[in-house]
């Protein structure tokens, strides 16, 4: 049985009210959906609310899934639409978004070296600040690929883009993020950024 047939079978069982099937769907996609929501909101409470909304939407629209492409692509597409709606509602807030320590903390692995931990936190904040400054269509592909770990084909299905376009945008997104970090370094002076850059092993 192929992946799509598995997905279709899972969706059919969910539609029939099978609790086990729904549990399987939650276990397969729950973490990824929460991750997508968190990378978009960078707030735990907002991400939990948004991910619940995404699951509600998934459940209410299961009859729309026809098995033509991977279920994860359909779910990501639905999630993205909800995230965009949320973004439109709070666009002003997002444009002045300040990336806090708490925002990046859930994405960092704790280590024994406090200094290294500080550097990792600052690098993460710098990264998300740069992501908020590049065009939306580039940033979302970078997040889906490098943070959420989706395949090119899944991203292409979710965003209705050909693979070549996905790869091209990903390449340009990385270049733009690097450029933004470099610009920030040049405007703030070499002192603080040099330490981070050396820690990151790049940019300088």
């Amino acid at each position: 049985m192929s992946g799509n047939e598995n997905d279709t079978n899972l969706v059919d069982r969910c539609r029939q009210g099978n609790d086990e099937a729904w549990r399987e769907l939650v276990d397969r996609f729950g973490q990824k959906i929460y991750s997508v929501a968190y990378h978009f909101t960078l707030k735990r409470e907002d991400a939990e609310e948004l991910s619940q909304e995404i699951f509600l939407k998934i459940f209410e629209n299961l009859h729309r899934y026809d098995g033509g492409f991977p279920l994860i692509a359909w779910i990501v597409s639905l999630s993205r639409n909800l995230c965009i709606d949320r973004y439109r509602r709070s666009k002003r807030e997002k444009s002045f978004r300040f990336v806090s320590d708490d925002a990046v903390a859930p994405m960092l692995t704790s280590g024994d070296d406090p200094a290294a931990e500080v550097i990792r936190r600052e690098r993460a904040k710098m990264l998300f600040a740069a992501l908020s400054e590049i065009p939306e269509d580039l940033a979302e592909i970078l997040v889906l690929r490098d943070l959420d770990g989706l395949a090119y084909e899944e991203i292409g299905r979710a965003l209705e883009l050909p693979n070549g376009t996905v790869k091209s945008r990903l390449f340009r997104a990385r270049a733009e993020v690097a450029r933004k970090i470099r610009e920030r370094h040049e405007s703030s002076g070499p002192g603080a950024f040099a330490t981070l850059a050396v820690a990151a092993g790049a940019f300088v």
Partner: protein, 267 residues
């Protein structure tokens, strides 16, 4: 500025080694390649945020909280007939609060039900009373009202008579025709009835004539007497000439010629 070759190799799916080989020979692409690798390293150092177990439990309860649009359609139809269990009703209400399309469908069905059992508006009773009060009779459309007009009636009668005359209709012909068509016994009866009627009419006419004559004779008699009296009174009122009558009262004077005439006539 990169020569775009590095991007082309990346898009076409070339290996990292091929890209690195090109970057070694192209200084612009070498910087771009460093940027790409640096950003990838930055991102790879981050792990996905972990969803809490409480959130997972919330995900698992979603089927008990809402329904999909397909099931909502059946529940909406059942809800119109009040045949939905409380649990399903809660799920439906929750779904309708989120789904505009289903809410619209539900509202439309509810409206249709209201159409089956409409509630009268506050002003309905007043309008009903006004509509049941007596109204002036409508004017009949049939054009016979002109017959009520005397001129119209006369004109109609003349027209009818003219038509009868022109067609040669004579009512006497009807009587004659009817008489000729009667059987012999009927003719005898009719003749008897007619004679009886004629006799009665003649007797009545004779009585009337006699009574008229009596009245006339009496009227003439009384009239003549009245006329004579009037003439006498007129003649008597004239002054009589004085003739050698005695002046003493003991002696009865002889009546005049006129007096003796009246007494004679009275006798």
């Amino acid at each position: 500025m990169s020569c775009q070759e590095l991007e082309r190799l990346f898009v076409t799916g070339a290996s990292d080694l091929e890209g690195r080989v090109h970057a070694e020979s192209c200084p612009a692409c070498a910087a771009a390649d460093r940027d790409q690798q640096s950003v990838r390293r930055l991102l790879s150092g981050l792990r996905p945020p972990a969803a809490s177990s409480v959130l997972r439990e919330a995900f698992l309860t979603i089927p008990a909280r809402t329904v999909d649009c397909e099931s909502a359609g059946f529940l909406i139809a059942a809800a119109v007939e009040e045949e939905v269990e409380p649990a399903n009703r809660r799920r439906l209400v929750f779904h309708l609060s989120r789904c505009k399309a289903c809410a619209e469908a539900s509202e439309t069905l509810g409206t249709a039900r209201e159409l089956v059992a409409p509630q009268p508006a506050p002003w309905f009773a007043g309008r009903m009373a006004a509509s049941t009060s007596p109204k002036p009779q409508p004017v009949p459309r049939v054009g016979w009202r002109w017959l009520l007009n005397p001129k119209g009636a006369i004109a109609f009668a003349y027209a009818a008579a003219l038509i009868l005359m022109l067609t040669g209709f004579n009512p006497a012909d009807l009587a004659r025709k009817a008489r000729t068509e009667l059987p012999q016994e009927a003719k005898v009866v009719v003749a008897g009835a007619e004679s009886t009627l004629a006799d009665r009419a003649g007797a009545w006419g004779e009585r009337v004539l006699r009574a008229g004559l009596i009245v006339r004779s009496r009227a003439f008699g009384y009239g003549r007497a009245a006329l004579s009296n009037v003439v006498q009174l007129v003649l008597k009122s004239e002054p009589a000439p004085a003739r050698g009558r005695p002046t003493s009262g003991g002696e009865k004077s002889a009546p005049s010629k006129n007096e003796s005439t009246i007494e004679t006539w009275r006798a």
